[in-house]
Assembly symmetry: C2
Homo-oligomer: 408 residues x 2
Amino acid sequence: MLIVQKYGGTSVGNVDRIKNVAKRVAKTANNGNKVVVVVSAMSGETDKLISLAQQISANPQEREMDLLLSSGERVTTALTAMAVEDLGIKARAFTGWQAGIVSDSVHTKAKIEKINTERVKAALDEGYVVIVAGFQGITEQGDITTLGRGGSDLSAVAIAAALHADACEIYTDVDGVYTTDPNIVPGARKLEKISYEEMMELASLGAKVLQTRSVEFGMKYNVPIVVRSSFNDNPGTLVTKEDADMEQVAVSGVAYDKNQAKVTIKSVPDKPGIAARIFKTIADANIVVDMIVQNTSTDGKSTDLSFTVAKTDAQKTRALTEELMRGLGAAGVDMRDDIAKISVVGVGMRTHSGVAATMFETLANHGVNIMTISTSEIKVSCLIELKYMELAVRALHEVFGLEGAVQK
Amino acid sequence: MLIVQKYGGTSVGNVDRIKNVAKRVAKTANNGNKVVVVVSAMSGETDKLISLAQQISANPQEREMDLLLSSGERVTTALTAMAVEDLGIKARAFTGWQAGIVSDSVHTKAKIEKINTERVKAALDEGYVVIVAGFQGITEQGDITTLGRGGSDLSAVAIAAALHADACEIYTDVDGVYTTDPNIVPGARKLEKISYEEMMELASLGAKVLQTRSVEFGMKYNVPIVVRSSFNDNPGTLVTKEDADMEQVAVSGVAYDKNQAKVTIKSVPDKPGIAARIFKTIADANIVVDMIVQNTSTDGKSTDLSFTVAKTDAQKTRALTEELMRGLGAAGVDMRDDIAKISVVGVGMRTHSGVAATMFETLANHGVNIMTISTSEIKVSCLIELKYMELAVRALHEVFGLEGAVQK
């Protein structure tokens, strides 16, 4: 079997943990498997580098930022290869570009365009365990890029897809994917398996266990992804294609996201094309907009337009929209970040009616006001005040019977 | 003018110092010069990485070691570019391979084979200050290499040669090249200029201010090298071609080296080809041998053979020679590292006779026993016991009148 394993920052956080990772890798190799290992930077290292850059410049160039940030994974990649080799197993370390990971040139948030697997394949054929630096790639022009927060997951899944690996194991500091955050609901249950679609919604809704784009990539290329802990041998959660079992359950999980900010443009003139201009400007700045709400104009002249972005993009978004609104006659731009997004997710929702109604009713019963609603085929999301977040998660987890129930 | 500036680890040791470097770079650029900047890793960073590797494995792979060590310069390269850009000057950071530095594949001690300057030239032509990661290159096969301790000097001089730069300024934490170590002789005098040949001898003899190979490279391609401090505006020392002024002075400096170990193979059979086998074995292990002494055989059958290597290579050398001696009937291998090499250097020696005699006499007058002597056209070196080192340096500095004398 060809297995891709990805170890996150906490799993390679110090020398002893790297040695532990090496033991796990060695065991997999000794069982007769070909192994590719993708590693993140040591936990805290990327933040340390970002802090250095911020001390140097308020507005560092993104190209140079990527060069800076890519150094953390080189360290763990080299150290992991040394640790595996120390156990008597041939290992070879590759940077992102050495592993053939080619991306577009959107620095700090690059997208993988293709993977040239020749070098990795050759090393595997020569009997090496291959260790690849996650989170990074290179443009066709030879500039180093990084793939955004959680990008190492994407590196792993993309490599697994390119190599037609039999499995992609994502090792992290939790046992798998849970029905909700066990820190909020102690009775939260680990899921044995979950569909790509559900996982994507959960990931994008702030369940940090797996990066959204990596799930998208896994779904597209049908890569079986296993999320499990590097600190024990528990079986983890399999992320796979939807099957009949999954549809038995209306709601698989409750997710929340505290990292969004809500921007409201007040009294936007009710003219065609204005919303398009706003969101084009924001998209051009590579800022991802999540929920968008626009009420019907009551006076036929102007209306309020609200949307959410990541908190880190909030100031930039505000500046962009304020500049854009100048001269358009909007009354101003408001921003608030004391909000949370609560979501229930499940492929069974398609066949089980009333999930949204139950959600709204439950929130109302607990006195939680809903600011904004957004739905998809398999999820319902509500924006609420941040202070109600934990209460809302607990209430929804209970009302949808997620605690203790056995899921096949 | 096109100027290459190299800043060592202490010059980029923290955020404030990097900002200082940026100011100096900006000043040079604002004076209308094209500037290429080569930076080392932050001081202490490379040692930290080596320590991590040693904690992982007693014998880490050298290829992976290079990948590990090359990360330190990426950090300073990116940060320096950000700091320069923050002063309103366009700057672009390049890794060693992005700057086209191609080396052989002798990991941890690679030699630069060629420099493909297209990318750096293009960036200079577009008006960028170019910041290059020192100490690193890439093999034709795409593996990252490092150039050995002090390799950033070599990166700078090699880039200056490849670009036909008007000057290569090596910024360090001392004001220039001194007649000897001011820590030992407080009256040591800074030299205004020095020939490549003298600098090479001084560098290889342990005056750490400039890496030997970089001087060799400078001489070969006639690159004017200026050694100066990044902490003040003192003029520094120019390393250049020998001229008539320099020959007026018999001795330019007194150097010492505490980092060598002496290996003695006892009772080596006096047969042709044995010495060749020993030194071929050592050379194949990429260990550099410095002094070699073999006394005439007194009994016609066997003799002692002594040579010096870097202390870091001593154990490996001992193991290699012991293995080689097994079966050849040598009496054993001795190693001692409580030794120092003291040298007097000067191009004037060629025309001033008696330098060696004065040196030996001075050491004898102070009761210092000479173990081994080695000479070249412009230097005389003696191996002595380590405990006499400072005494010997002071005595020789005085007897050759280096203190206070004015040199043109």
